[in-house]
Amino acid sequence: MSTQILIVAEHDGKTLNLSTAKCVTCARGLAEAQVTVAVFAASAAAVAEQAAKLTGVNRVLTIENPANEHALAAVLAPQVAALAAPFGLLLGPSTTFGKDLMARVAGLLDAPQLSDISAIESATRFRRPIFAGNAILTVDTTGVAKLVGTVRTASFEAAGAGGPAPIEKAAVEVALPTHTRFVSVSAAKNDRPDLQTAARVISGGRALGSADGFKILYSLADKLKAAVGASRAAVDAGYAPNEMQVGQTGKIIAPELYVAIGISGAIQHLTGIKDARTIVAINKDGEAPIFEVADIGLVGDLFQVVPEIERLIS
């Protein structure tokens, strides 16, 4: 397998997502890696410049096309595939962007994919969690000419500033489909840190009882400059929007501090927080499974405890 690695950048048209810097760190785990970052965008200059500044990036390619304004996997995948020839490994982040796109690329290239790479052990040995993180699998890829992968972002530090690496324009001559059309994206804007990269996260579960109940968490989070997350039960009940869900089918995060409030600690939830440095649990049931993973546990009624914590730190 060639040690040339292509990383597909994730961005919103203006800012490079931190997940890309984590892919760079992952790629650097391969001896003699030559790392190229590809920026697909309507206009790529600003994002390309940020990518070029990451330590460990050798080269940035920009592929500009009005069709690349929204990251549609069906539109991007043939362009990634068209660039793939020199690369032994094609990586994207294990975010909804990367998971959606990279497997389509793998399908086009008839190349196998490793999802959620959590460590690179050698040019042919990779590790990844399976069964919701309840087992860690080591995979050998000997004999595979071209491999596609998604990078479990919680497993890697973001590459720091260095460079700058050269930026080149790349032309790809492929027909792009029109069968998939972007309509809209809705995201509740708030001033809190991003859940996936925040150093502190406060999460609430079903016990919060209502969207209104979550307000005591927002208030505490603002004091702590923390992001707010939620269990699936809380999202399903409509107490919190889906982008706040933490866990196997939500976001996998690795903050310095994770505070689970009124969350029982189902395995699917724990999958999302295993890499948190310190886990705090507040639950009125002393037998709740969340206490098995908590570094600091407090048995009590959250509606009494949470406002009190806020008062104590104010």
Partner: protein, 249 residues
Amino acid sequence: MKRILVGIKRVVDYNVRIRVKPDNTGVVTDGVKMSVNPFDEIALEEALRIKERGGAEEVVVATVGPAECQQQLRTALAMGADRALHVVADGIVEPLVAARALLKLVEREQPLLVLLGKQAIDDDNGQTGQMLAAMWNRPQATYASKLEVTDTTARVTREVDAGLETLDIDLPAVVTTDLRLNEPRYVKLPDIMKAKKKPLDTLSLAELGVEPRQQLKLVRFEAPPQRQKGIRVKDAAELVEALKKKGLL
């Protein structure tokens, strides 16, 4: 005929506490409850609802795997699928092989829509739907939490990291399901009896012209590192103290 094809994967039930075998060759599956992948139940439920609304005439379920998978196909038939296709494959079925086999079924069945789960909860790959869509050269809408099907297009709301994204896609297409798309119905006893009489066809990978390639070698399974046992504090004041001591406040 307007048809929906639904992928069904047999997996260890989501309630089972997974244990790695002492010799690190896999996870314990002896005597362990096996089920339909939860995301595939959601895919099937959605297909049945589309049919019940008049948007499709037939729901076909398909699996690629060993003989035991027929149990899960029977469950799917009991839930309401009209017929089942079992592509027999022993050993590990990598997503490229599953997608290739599903593509062959798509060519035979000409569905309007293929509904798959967003991921199988055993391998957590999350690849098959996208691979199938790529090989088929048709649209994909992954992580669907809402699906509105018309004659020739579908509007899909997707759960993405930023929030909810809406796409319009031309049919036929592949849609993969997220948890909030619907809540699957329970199977009733009489339906299990009825399901025994529904058609279940068996095919082989060779018949479909699909090579059972295994390209990735599974070297070693390990239990994840355990977290150290923590401390208990008795009230908010002690909690704040403990956090300060750790330098977290």
